[in-house]
Symmetry: C2
Subunit: 240 residues, 2 copies
Amino acid sequence: RADNDLMFPEVAGAVGPFNLNSKEAALFEQSHTQLGTPRLLAIPEPSSDNEKKKVGRKKQKHKMSQEPGDDGDDRTREHPFIVTEPGELARGKKNGLDYLFDLYEQCARFLDEVQQMSKERGEKCPVKVTNQVFRHAKLKGASYINKPKMRHYVHCYALHCLDLQQSNHLRKLYKDRRENVGAWRQACYLPLVEMARQNGWDIEGVFNRNEKLRIWYVPTKLRQLCHTEKSKDSDSCSYE
Amino acid sequence: RADNDLMFPEVAGAVGPFNLNSKEAALFEQSHTQLGTPRLLAIPEPSSDNEKKKVGRKKQKHKMSQEPGDDGDDRTREHPFIVTEPGELARGKKNGLDYLFDLYEQCARFLDEVQQMSKERGEKCPVKVTNQVFRHAKLKGASYINKPKMRHYVHCYALHCLDLQQSNHLRKLYKDRRENVGAWRQACYLPLVEMARQNGWDIEGVFNRNEKLRIWYVPTKLRQLCHTEKSKDSDSCSYE
DNA sequence: AACCCGGGCGACCATCGGACGCTGGTGCC
DNA sequence: GGCACCAGCGTCCGATGGTCGCCCGGGTT
């Protein structure tokens, strides 16, 4: 039959079910490039996992089979973030904000790779940091990157990209006040809402116009804040 | 607690679960504007349903409760398309290609509306014709628009947008040869692949550069064809 | 050592983009 | 009227964007 979309006989067979996208066949992933450690993890503030790098030990499965006397270093969970000022190294079992922001740059790099690959394979080419990118990052060994975390702090990174000055001030302020990360994170919204106001409330546009931000989805909460602020604005002056 | 993302007390309550997006609350939809019939359905070639417009009768449910002697006019399925040349009205219980292409323009209009609405509500604003747009079209009474159909013929519409001349020629050719719609549809791929070749195989870019096409996803089949043709190109000259 | 605070991220969910193939409309004989 | 063709579109499916809250790490007492 000629239909069922199998046109171009020479093509049909060759192209058919050949999308490695969704599983990213380990073949392609394991190899070389090693983005994770040499350049990237080294740059910012690796209080995280390369303190001693006891390499991968067995993954403890809920209190079972844990050598006694060895409380290991194969941490599963990343150390929590604390508010640090720019250039400051986090003390103790914590990670600083420079490290947090570097994670976003790493993701951008992983996105680049995914884009390159999908172009070579003739697949849909992602424009944003998608699930596929997180999966790719994991396969490349960047297990410290995960979706919920990255999405959680996107707007903090946004402020960092859009107004480094103000972002740095806020970090210093919240550090000196000994506020926790959650409080700092919340505080990052306000300056962004102000920026949106100055850009006709087009927060989407604000993101898209910035080279580094373009690849990140605007967080729902930020969009909502902009929306309600806009409404309050136009409420309070009853003309127009 | 201050976290759990409920910051800005005055905002939290007001904004919370107020996304009408996914159901499009009939309230907002039923009303006015009536895109469907007056301007749009009237323009092209409504061999479709307004021949007599016996308004909505009961939807027959698989041979049950059908007034005898009344084999009604409440057609469920649209009349199939036939290959028509530009300006030609389809004869009999068929629809012509001008009508098909108009459906795409209607979708663009529905997308506009959805974008307007989502901007007003501070929701994510779709850039492409998404499920939401099809749902909106249906709610607005354009029941003759549906996703599988529109996706099926996207590349035909693409040719129509990108090279009207060639599209028209192809239509005439296939009409004169008395080819069926499926054959014409298949034939539409080739000129597009050629266009992609002339644009560095960037079919995505070809779509995005065209005002009307930008809102449509590049069909998988077309992307795959471009990919395999590209491979054949570079195979056949062994240098580089 | 025990406790409690805070936040990392596993895992879930609604919805998405995408596709297949059944159903039945349609024209021909 | 009956049949064979073929295409419309209901309906499914894997994967996506987005989120919640459990679990436990870590600092404090």
